[in-house]
Amino acid sequence: MRTLPPAAIAGAILLAAAAPTWAHHAFSAEFDANRPVKLQGTVTKMDWVNPHAWIHIDVKKPDGTVEQWMIEGGTPNAMFRRGFTKDSLLPGTQIIVDGFQAKNGTLRANGRDLRLPDGRTLFVGSSGTGAPDERPEK
């Protein structure tokens, strides 16, 4: 095992003692930093589930075959509070995903950045379903 510098050990001790809950789980434990992926695909469905939502997309490969990927996002509760609903990302929507593939080699990745093909950010840009402009003025 590599030896950690004393400052890092001291930091790790503080972290173990004092780390508050920031998110549900560590994405670097699930996804492989050595396997970056950039996917363009068609949404087939979205699981609005806790602890993390999943977006299912079909990705067509150059040889014409289609891979079915699952993209992990955040907790959906905040999305509801921001005015998004199950109609905010409809099947058929094209999206571009930047993320990292799962360590276990399955067709799963985190959605580090989700965009529409025109570059706008998913949900808060337009999804083509009218979603962003549905964001209510509360």
């Binding site: 095992m1 001291a10 790790a12 920031w22 998110a23 602890p51 580090r112 989700l114 209510p136």
Partner: protein, 369 residues
């Protein structure tokens, strides 16, 4: 894998070290019991919050809570904690308990600049730490990132510089030597066995419990209080955990009965609900404390939409002195959503199977000469 984990741990550790190094004791000062808190309009972001200061302090002094049908002060409703205020006072604010209007305006501007919807999610105290350094918010996952920040609720800015109100420096007191040694052993165990089984993963990641008390803001940090004669129930959205607390003279359960959320007893001191909790499970964890944790919480409604939540934690096996946090919870008309955690926790499957795949890949590597 091990080297990457270590590198990540070292990165986080280094950041933590920097934060820890910023600890600067300051002269003692007594915080006001009800510091003025700025309310923000719904949907307002950290950067576009109205800078107009409501006469909160004056309103809080004159405000009297209503009564439930059986005559208790009425604390019922749904309350949120989306504050940007960090748990511990950063070095940049050493010696300063409150921000003035000018500093507030600058903080809001910096917070708005620190994060955008398309940047990586910035959790917890990272947002304010980035804002006061005039930097972009940093991901807690520098290697893989998380997901876009639009998955998070917008944060609220108030004029306090730490949630900790005692000690006066706004910092967690030093750990005892035995707690330091325990934490080091725990960190070493996590490095040795990061994911041999689900038992190696944090309690929240396992969907077992997110514990109490809770200081995390901006991540399903919503609570519902329901009162009935003799009881108060507190629903926690994150983990959909419910504390059902007797508010009547009743002794604690025996010491051998230890629970994730401890054993709570409540009573009223004027209009303040006081809850004392002991009997925490040795498997639980609040900032490194568990079975010996003694928790005293105080809930005081100081306005129609403000519930001051103050708690004091003591554990002489962990901290060199007790410490106290105050979080001004905000009343909201939003709903509480169920956080069905375990049944959708495919991330755990991914973590464990991912580590097995890495072990197999490492075993397949030719041995070094």
């Amino acid at each position: 894998m091990a080297s990457r984990s270590l590198a990540t741990a070292a990165s986080i550790a280094a950041l933590t070290s920097v934060i820890a190094a910023q600890h600067v004791p300051v002269a003692k000062a007594t915080p006001p019991s009800n510091p003025p808190a700025l309310t923000t309009p719904p949907r307002a972001g950290a950067g576009d919050v109205s800078s107009k200061r409501p006469p909160a302090a004056k309103a809080q002094r004159s405000w009297t809570p209503g009564r439930t049908p059986d005559g208790q002060p009425d604390l019922q409703g749904i309350w949120s904690n989306n504050t940007i205020t960090p748990l511990q006072r950063p070095a940049q604010w050493a010696g300063k308990q409150f921000l003035n209007d000018e500093e507030m305006a600058a903080l809001k501007k910096a917070a708005a600049a620190a994060v955008t919807d398309d940047s990586d999610a910035v959790f917890g105290d990272s947002l304010v730490l980035a804002a006061i350094s005039n930097e972009k918010g940093r991901s807690f996952e520098p290697s893989t990132g998380n997901y876009n920040n639009f998955w998070l609720v917008e944060r609220e800015v108030d004029n306090r510089t730490s949630l900790i109100v005692d000690p006066a420096d706004g910092r967690i007191p030093p750990l005892t030597p035995e707690a330091t040694a325990r934490a080091a052993a725990l960190a070493a165990a996590r490095r040795r066995s990061p994911a041999d089984g689900a038992e190696d993963r944090p309690l929240g990641e396992r969907c077992l419990t997110f514990g109490t008390p809770r200081v995390g803001a901006g991540y399903n940090s919503y609570y519902q209080i329901v009162q009935s004669p003799g009881y108060v129930a507190i629903v926690h959205e994150l983990g959909h955990e419910v504390r059902v607390i007797p508010v009547e003279p009743r002794s604690h359960v025996g010491p051998r009965l230890q629970q994730w959320l401890g054993d709570s007893r409540g009573h009223w001191e004027g209009d303040t609900l006081v809850i004392e909790t002991t009997n925490f499970s040795p498997k639980s964890s609040f900032q490194g404390s568990n079975a010996n944790l003694h928790l005293v919480e105080r809930f005081k409604r100081v306005g129609e939409k403000t519930l001051n939540y103050e708690f004091t934690v003591s554990d002489p096996t962990v901290w060199t002195r007790p410490w106290t946090v105050m979080i001004p919870l905000k009343g909201t008309d939003e709903k509480i959503y169920e956080y069905a955690c375990h049944e959708g926790n495919t991330g755990m499957e991914g973590i464990l199977s991912g580590h097995r795949a890495e072990e197999q890949a490492a075993a397949a590597q030719p041995a070094r000469p």
